[in-house]
């Protein structure tokens, strides 16, 4: 009872990055709360999951091995979580804000009547006072996320309902081994105790994974464009500079919405979180939702015609000017100085 659970996403027997990040965060929250860290693995080919997750400080691993559980479909995974949570009564449940986590989390929360906060950028433990009812709550999960298109940051709590559920995007939390020799306990459950036939009414006919061509997450240099780039044509300049520097091209949500570039390149709270060595922000004003996804870049260069653009306050270099003037000059002088 009262432990912290992480739902693991597993592909080909390998625990996903986002799940490893959640385990890391989960371990530190569990230490603060003085509770156990438990993890759920549902699928097939789970033999190697133990050795992957125990070093993150997992105390209990719940294993649900059944070929009907992979590929993921909503209903059986929901049934497993709902019944397990009724038995185990966790205080917190963390899921990745992935296609799976954002499909599963709300269904489980609705079934249990518990609160769920999507796309958290920070999770902390703290107290909460309901002044109206004169009630004080200790050790609640602070679920912190940008809201309102990223224009404000909200701290959300679930005072009275358990588990407190939250999803977090990949790359937002850092993963870190807790103890390479940590040994937890693995419990193998009988899947048939948790699911029933009606859970399998949705079937997967075909599935093909196309590995994304865009790999901004692991690129050491990112040239990123915002609405201020002005047009799709101007965006081509970013690709030119990126090619020259061996960089990837990223974008703010406004640029993606304006159709300047594709969705996979979106950086920010509702896109990808990046930590490159160099981040060149072109015509990006710096809404919170964008900054949440790139503020840990080592060096930030901002190109903006507005010297008061919010992003400039976190930049190391601020170039004031039009993107379409500045980038060709950067290209020209980069070439000149590397000859």
């Amino acid at each position: 009872m009262d432990n912290l659970f992480v739902y693991l996403e597993i592909e080909d027997g390998v625990v996903a990055e986002v799940s490893q990040e959640l385990l890391t965060k989960g371990r530190s929250l569990a230490n603060q709360l003085g509770c156990k860290l438990e993890a759920i693995a549902a699928g097939v080919n789970l033999g190697k999951v133990e050795e992957q997750v125990f070093p993150y400080g997992v105390d209990v691993l719940h294993i649900f091995e059944d070929k009907r559980l992979l590929p993921y479909t909503t209903l059986p995974h929901t049934s497993i979580l709902v019944k397990l949570f009724k038995e185990e009564k966790p205080q917190i449940c963390l899921l990745g804000a992935t296609i799976i986590g954002r499909d599963l989390g709300p269904r489980v929360s609705s079934s249990l009547g518990s609160g769920l906060t999507a796309d958290c950028t920070s999770l902390e433990i703290g107290s909460h006072e309901n002044k109206k009812e004169g009630k004080v709550y200790e050790n609640l999960l602070y679920q912190i996320r940008p809201a309102f298109g990223g224009n404000i940051v909200a701290n959300i709590v679930n005072p009275d309902h358990r588990p407190q559920m939250a999803t977090v995007r990949e790359g937002v939390m850092k993963k870190e081994i807790f103890d390479p020799y940590y040994k937890g306990e693995a419990i193998v459950h009988d899947v048939n105790d948790y699911v029933n036939e009606e859970d399998f009414i949705v079937s997967i006919i075909d599935r093909h994974i196309e590995k994304s061509k865009v790999n901004i997450k692991n690129s050491p240099i990112i040239v990123s464009g915002g609405y201020g780039v002005g047009s799709k044509e101007n965006f081509e300049l970013l690709y030119k500079l990126a090619d020259l520097l061996g960089a990837e091209v990223g974008a703010s949500r406004a640029a993606v919405d304006a159709g300047y570039t594709e969705h996979e390149r979106q950086i920010g709270q509702t896109g990808v979180t990046v930590r490159p060595k160099v981040y060149i922000a072109c015509g990006i004003s710096g809404q919170i939702q964008h900054i949440a996804g790139m503020q840990e870049s080592s060096i930030i260069i901002s190109i903006n015609n507005d010297p008061a653009a919010p992003i400039n306050s976190i930049a190391d270099y601020v170039i004031t000017g039009e993107v379409e003037n500045v980038i060709p000059k950067m290209i020209k002088y980069y070439k000149k100085n590397t000859k």
Binding site: P106, A118, I152, A154, I156, S212, T270
Partner: protein
């Protein structure tokens, strides 16, 4: 073959084009400064519904929204594009609802609408970006959900085959009906307003709108019943007030704030050739780039 279709839609502040006056001095959102729009992905959802109706004439589309009185605007938008009916769920008791209380209210309204084969909604709304209400409504109704839908491949009397957009690929799934489908922004855009329908439904109003506007051509609402937009309260859908609005919301907003960024010491550079030349030299020399 004809289907009963419900489209869930939300009127949202246009958070994508936030100007400098969008935030008040005290750090709260100045809603009045933001235009209210039809949530973009809900338009993709409406288009999917309209395509089902195109393929199966006689199908009926009801567009359902929860919000303040002005949210009736998006019901009219739906009618102008081909929906048959609009329902506004509005009541002070719904105010402050989180996703769970919202999905409870919507599910009660759907039960009142009655028989349905499809529910379509957008993947998520741009003011909250949670993507939670769709799956939660499906759970409350006890029907399957297909999220991130991009295209309907095939419809049979009792089942539907749908292509979903995943992070790195696609998946084709088949589900029995009834089903709730959340539609991704990558699906086909919604058709524009139809001129004939615009004329037909221009004066479609909810009861409250008619009262507030004190219309003098009131008898047209008797002679043309299709101009009456349905308006339901908590009591109308037999919802438990304790499960609605703020009291029905497990999540509470403890605090909201503007973020103050950790300001760095920064170097200012103009767009002159000399200064950019110097900058590139510096970046290459200190191995930032190159």
């Amino acid at each position: 073959m004809a289907f009963n279709i419900i489209v869930l839609a939300k009127q949202v502040p246009d958070t994508r084009n936030v100007g400098k006056d969008a935030m008040k001095a005290d750090g709260t959102v100045n809603r009045a400064a933001l235009p209210a729009i039809f949530n973009p992905e809900d338009l993709n959802a409406l288009e999917q519904a309209l395509e089902v109706k195109d393929r199966f004439p006689g199908s009926k589309i009801t567009i359902l929204t929860m919000g303040p009185g002005r949210a009736a605007e998006i019901l009219r938008e739906g009618l102008f594009r081909g929906a048959d009916d609009g329902v506004l769920l509005t009541d002070r008791a719904f105010a402050g609802a989180d996703t769970l209380a919202t999905s409870y209210a919507l599910s009660m309204a759907i039960r009142k609408i009655g028989e349905f084969d499809f529910i379509f909604s957008g993947r998520q709304a741009i003011d909250g970006d949670t993507a939670q209400v769709g799956p939660q409504v499906a759970e409350k109704l006890g029907i399957p959900q297909i999220t991130y839908a991009e295209h309907i491949e095939k419809i049979d009397k009792n089942s539907v085959r749908i292509k979903r957009r995943l992070d790195n690929g696609v998946e084709v799934v088949e589900s029995p009906l009834p089903v709730l489908i959340t539609v991704n922004g990558s699906a086909r855009s919604c058709r524009p307003r139809n001129a004939k329908l615009l004329l037909k439904y221009k004066h479609a109003k909810t009861v409250t709108e008619r009262q507030v506007e004190n219309l003098d051509y009131i008898d047209i609402y008797d002679s043309r019943p299709f101009l009456n937009l349905t308006e339901w309260s908590v009591a109308d859908v037999a919802a438990d007030p304790l499960l609605c609005g703020l009291s029905g919301s497990p999540t509470k907003v403890k605090k909201t704030e503007n973020v103050v960024f950790q300001t760095k010491e920064n170097k200012h550079i103009s767009d002159s050739d000399i200064e950019i030349d110097e900058l590139m030299k510096e970046l290459i020399e200190n191995h930032t780039i190159g």
